[in-house]
Symmetry: C3
Subunit: 206 residues, 3 copies
């Protein structure tokens, strides 16, 4: 068992809470009852990290070894259930939070993959998977095409954050400032792309 | 490799057959052909246990190491295919069977997680996952929002069964009667909740 | 770590490219942007093999240990994006390619499961999973009922290829010609079944 650093843990737990909140909010909008809300919160919060841990062989996954993950996910579901009207009035803040979760998870996922000895390209892929996996499972469970496939700059923002982590590791830069810069870069790319309405090209004649 | 007890194995295999039946029945209703019915039976029957085994590091999963799992799942698909009209006239018995599978899988899943050294909270989660995972995959494959998110007391019944397993283990009670009591409790909560039309609260103003 | 043979690797990589192409083509038809196309290509190309590797305990999965998998998947996404009109005029060739991928993946998946010490029945199941898994994830992500459940002879063709691999291994025949014959048989069954419009029976009174 390889332990991750306190910084990665803090990023992971913050991301868990934020993603759980987005899952719970979607569940409330779909008029699920309190159990459905909590289930969707937990799944959205933990699926990305679970998939990553399964793939790097970190079994049982961190979220099953450390109760704080599950508690953070559960809390996010309860917050989404009880403060749903307030959250919904806050469309922009929720988008901003989601972007923060995206950056944090991409960095934590990529960093953990490196810690487990993966090479750069797969580590980047796992960063993106960690960041986008929970949202994909959330959208699939409510029978929607996942946001990561529809929204312009989403996987791209996670990709940017993961690539910065790799670049920093290759250059031998100190890990903490690189992690913070990477999460910030992913976060900013996502927020600015929504704010400016950036869109990526579609296939010619599609 | 840690072997599970004969009791857990019997519970697992019974649950496999029952869940395979529910998967096959859904497939017949969707007018899938015989291969589609068998595929959906197998997936519904085995997905919950597969996910559990992947997460506790029991690899290859039990259902790939012991042919009886696959045979039970296959049989359930054939039964669903050929006896579909009879099964469909039996809406209540199918619900009751499904509730039985729910209780059995929750107990088997939670018990196996404990056997593999997981702590109580994650073991409960894995019990719920084992019980609900197959049905989730089944519903996702036919493009429906999973029952576990829509139905009032479903994950809740699995949760109850798993919590009783944990409580019994913490109190040092003998495992077999605790397992039977836990499966029964989950089963009864599910059946009674359907029978009495119990519903869980929805979010205020959702 | 057990290495697979060069033949299995070549089959795997060819299958990856072909399945990535089918994923990318579906994505273009759904008017996803270039990132969505690439994500769906990668997922379709790699999901089957990833699931197989997770289940046999080959962790990290081959596609995360060997950059060529990811590169092949990425390339297929770009080809689908830029040559989509040409590909779409070629409905039949795409079906034929997909059938080829089906046969190749079934053989590679079943062979790798044997290499990792699984017994015949689970090895066959993993061959089918490897062949059909990517397409299932692709269809689920665009909110469609997976082709493997709807199309007559699809899982069946993968099953045939995997069974031939097993039969060859049991009879002690040389692996390379058996692998080629098995992939061909799966491919031909699929192509002929589409060409002749073969259909499998539906449940009586469904």
């Amino acid at each position: 068992m390889t332990d991750i650093s306190p910084l990665l843990l803090a990023m992971d737990l913050t991301g868990v809470f934020i993603f759980g909140l987005t899952g719970g909010t979607v569940a409330v909008r779909r008029q699920l009852d309190i159990f459905g809300v909590i289930v969707l919160s937990i799944v959205t919060a933990l699926a990305g990290g679970l998939l990553r841990d399964l793939m790097i062989g970190a079994v049982p996954p961190a979220s099953l070894r450390d109760d704080r993950y599950l508690i953070a996910a559960l809390l996010s579901g309860l917050v989404a259930f009880f403060f749903h009207p307030q959250i919904n009035r806050l469309v922009k803040p929720v988008m901003v939070l989601d972007a923060a979760g995206l950056g944090l998870f991409a960095v934590a996922g990529c960093g953990k993959a490196l810690t487990y000895g993966l090479t750069p390209v797969p580590a980047v892929l796992l960063g993106v998977l960690t960041a986008c996996g929970g949202g994909v499972v959330r959208d699939v469970l409510v029978a929607e095409v996942p946001r990561v496939l529809r929204e312009e700059i989403y996987a791209m923002a996670a990709l940017l954050a993961a690539v910065i982590v790799i670049a920093g590791a290759e250059l031998g830069l100190p890990r903490t400032p690189v992690a913070i810069a990477a999460a910030l870069a992913g976060f900013l790319l996502r927020v600015v792309s929504v704010w400016r309405g950036w869109s990526a090209p579609r296939a010619p004649g599609s």
